[in-house]
């Protein structure tokens, strides 16, 4: 898939009101494959941390018997990070403002994940 293809997969995610940006991240090494971010967001650093967090959490979930994660939602005081892994191992990551419709973001992330699978 081309870089433009990855970026277009993010369009549905970034169209959701309250989403400040989205990225496609290589799950193994945390490198940004494609991004559509508002200015000021440190995409590379966030991608690395999100990938590391996803790996740790995924391993814990496997060990706990609930299987690998299909959706993660980090809630913070002033916003959220939402992640869906694609079958290829890529992570689709959204950065959102507080009060965003997390259910809608989840649906768009899942669609994007199918697009990059």
């Amino acid at each position: 898939m081309s870089k433009n293809g990855y970026e277009s997969a993010l369009n549905g995610v970034t169209a959701v009101r309250g989403v400040r940006g989205a990225m496609v991240v290589a799950g193994g090494d945390g490198l940004v494959v494609a991004e559509s971010l508002m200015e000021g967001i440190k995409g590379a650093a966030v991608a690395a941390l999100a990938a590391s967090l996803a790996t740790r959490l995924g391993r814990a979930m496997e060990a706990g018997g609930v299987g690998g994660g299909v959706f993660w939602h980090l809630q913070a005081e002033r916003g959220a990070l939402l992640v869906v892994p694609a079958r290829s191992g890529m992570l689709i990551v959204a950065i959102a403002e507080p009060g965003v419709n997390a259910g809608l973001v989840r649906l768009e992330l899942l669609k994007a994940a199918e697009g990059v699978a």
């Binding site: 941390l49 740790r56 959490l57 706990g64 018997g65 299987g67 809630q75 913070a76 916003g79």
Partner: protein, 273 residues
């Protein structure tokens, strides 16, 4: 404990890069299997040379072997990596006490107290050092070389009355050590230690990620899996609470259960202080 060693050994064999070697090395140290413990710690350090807890583990093993020179080097390295590491501060205080340098012992214990003012073992050790008891006249101060030396805390003391206290609630410290609760995997096997080991550091990473994005402090991390949902929340800045339920419990409700359990855990932690 033997089963724990087997379980952790299997996990380490499956994933040699995992941090489970910290728990395995510590368990072997407690069982006084020092050769094995040292091998596990040394192999772990080869993969994680900048991990302060790994140097601390090796230092504790060396101290148990009465190889104080190497123990000193490892605790010194621990502090270079993590200047406020209380295990290393207490360990060095112990070594200084052993050689009769009470001023240095007290200085390190004071630093440890600054980092962890509620640690009763530090107070006890400080009292002994300030009492001027020479090392040759008294046993070393009661500095707990291992933070795991204490008896495990029964889960019912933390989550009394909460649904799933025996199989779906887990309270951990920042290093992934179990404070209370238990987890069972889908096939009924005890998954407590494995999950705890993988979750070590998650709180810090969630915190760093939220901070990097300018989102403030993190308040929860929900995750959906094919066989169940999980919710993580930090009841205090250095503790982590995990709740696991099957998919019949929606993630939103899980977060509510999590807040209730976090409140109970916070109160329990305050009572322990």
């Amino acid at each position: 404990m033997a089963d724990d060693v087997k379980l952790l050994s299997a996990q380490l064999a499956q994933d040699p890069h995992s941090l489970v070697f910290l728990r395995l090395g510590e368990l072997l140290r407690q069982k006084r299997q020092f050769d094995l413990a040292q091998r596990v710690a040394t192999n772990g350090l080869e993969r994680h040379p900048h991990l302060a807890d790994a140097h601390d583990l090796l230092a504790r093993i060396m101290a148990d072997r009465h190889d104080y020179e190497h123990a000193f080097d490892e605790w010194d390295m621990t502090l270079r990596i993590a200047p406020g590491h209380t295990g290393a501060l207490k360990g060095l205080a112990f070594l200084y006490f052993k050689v009769g340098d009470l001023a240095q012992a007290e200085s390190h214990l004071r630093e440890a107290k600054k980092v962890d003012p509620d640690d009763p073992a530090v107070d006890q050790a400080l009292a002994m050092v300030r009492g001027g008891v020479a090392a040759s006249d008294a046993p070393a101060p009661a500095v707990p070389v291992s933070s795991e030396a204490a008896e495990p805390i029964p889960e019912e003391r933390v989550f009394a009355g909460l649904e799933g206290a025996q199989e779906g609630l887990l309270l951990l410290d920042a290093a992934g050590q179990v404070l209370g609760g238990a987890l069972k995997s889908g096939d009924g096997q005890d998954a407590t230690q494995a999950v705890a080991a993988y979750l070590a550091g998650v709180s810090q990473e969630a915190s760093r990620t939220a901070k990097l994005l300018g989102l403030g402090g993190w308040v929860g991390l929900s995750a959906e899996g094919p066989q169940g949902n999980v919710h993580l929340t930090p009841p205090t800045h250095d503790a982590l609470l995990l709740i696991v339920r099957d998919r019949s419990v929606p993630m939103g409700r899980l977060a509510v259960i999590g807040q209730r359990a976090a409140l109970i855990a916070r109160r329990w932690l305050e009572r322990q202080a």
